[in-house]
Symmetry: C2
Subunit: 197 residues, 2 copies
DNA sequence: GTCTATAATCAGATAGAC
DNA sequence: GTCTATCTGATTATAGAC
């Protein structure tokens, strides 16, 4: 990060921002270039094609987010219970998205629209991340602190979709990113209802 | 529905299917036409532009889904408690998406990519729907059966994003649509955790 | 490393025959 | 009501000067 406006990095940042806000086909090369302070053809000096640029943003987004969540969870220390670890992951994920990481928001926004071949590669990179979530959920179930009647895969899909959505609807105002993260964690762990009926 | 392959309807169905599976820009007019059994220019005899066609699919999707959920909830009768009504809405929404309504799945898939003006109009049509969800949530909170510490708007956003996602990841196999719907309802109402810690 | 052309492609839309 | 042929505009990508 010492050299944040080195050409390549400046373009990647501009692409992440533009993909996040305009989607895959909405993000024109000229928009990205403009934000990076250059004209469209100049991008080709740094990247062979729009697809290559997009793919690099996706990979960065996945690894950024992944590293951040893992760091928060593992930072709890080995004494933390599985359910506490799961809660920390939820909070970290929401907080990361809302505190302005364009890369991970870009992934959430454009993933479904990627060309087939690229989506396969990005999905493969994502799978280690998926497994991490899965392990958090399964550990809590084995521990008896999470409902064993829930399917871990279904929980993971619903959970990630729910959390990823916040970057598209959140606007600063009444609630802070940290408060949204707490609400998400409470909702996911304890549900909307006060008690089982 | 008696005349399901009337020209207009055939095109709308084809557009809903194609938008659902390929997204807004991925759904070419030629793809839609092919599925409707004609060539692209023929669409212009029935619709003035791709945008008009897309907008009509969005509106249909919203009203279909809306009517279905309301019918299920109101069908419970006036004796049903707010939390039971909320659960019924969740189940109905998931079940509707997974039992093959291309229109509402198309809305979930392409909404964020719509041109600004159209998105505003679609959002306006959506707002009565949003209010219905909001009322279900607020009623349960007032009733004391839902956690009053949760922000109703945040709950609604997270809830809808979570439920809408299932049409993009669900594949028939181990679990049926009805089972996914039950898992979603249990997750949302009671949470992943067994008890508050 | 960025620019000014310009090519190549593709998709939405139109004209007009049948 | 659907077709063939064509136009138009936008966007990715290339060539080559500076």
């Amino acid at each position: 990060m010492a050299q944040a406006d080195h050409g390549r990095t400046r373009i990647l940042d501009a692409a992440a921002y533009t993909l996040r806000h305009k989607g895959l086909t909405g993000a024109k090369l000229s928009d990205i270039a403009k934000r990076a302070g250059m004209l469209a053809p100049s991008i080709y000096h740094h990247f062979p094609s729009k697809d290559h640029l997009v793919e690099e943003v996706m990979m960065e987004g996945i690894y950024h987010n992944n590293r951040h969540i893992m760091a928060q969870v593992e930072g709890l220390g080995s004494s933390a219970s599985p359910i506490v670890r799961l809660r920390a992951a939820v909070v970290a994920h929401v907080d990361f998205l809302l505190t302005g990481d364009d890369y991970s928001s870009a992934v959430a926004r454009v993933f479904d629209d990627l060309p087939d071949e690229m989506r396969k590669r990005v999905l493969a990179a994502y799978s280690s991340f998926d497994n991490y979530w899965r392990d958090l959920i399964v550990a809590a179930q084995r521990d008896g602190s999470a409902n064993q009647a829930l399917d871990p895969t279904v929980v993971r899909k619903f959970l990630i979709a729910m959390l990823d959505s916040c970057s598209s609807w959140y606007r600063p105002g009444k609630l802070s990113p940290a408060q949204i993260a707490e609400q998400a964690a409470d909702m996911l762990l304890y549900g909307i209802a006060v008690e089982r009926t």
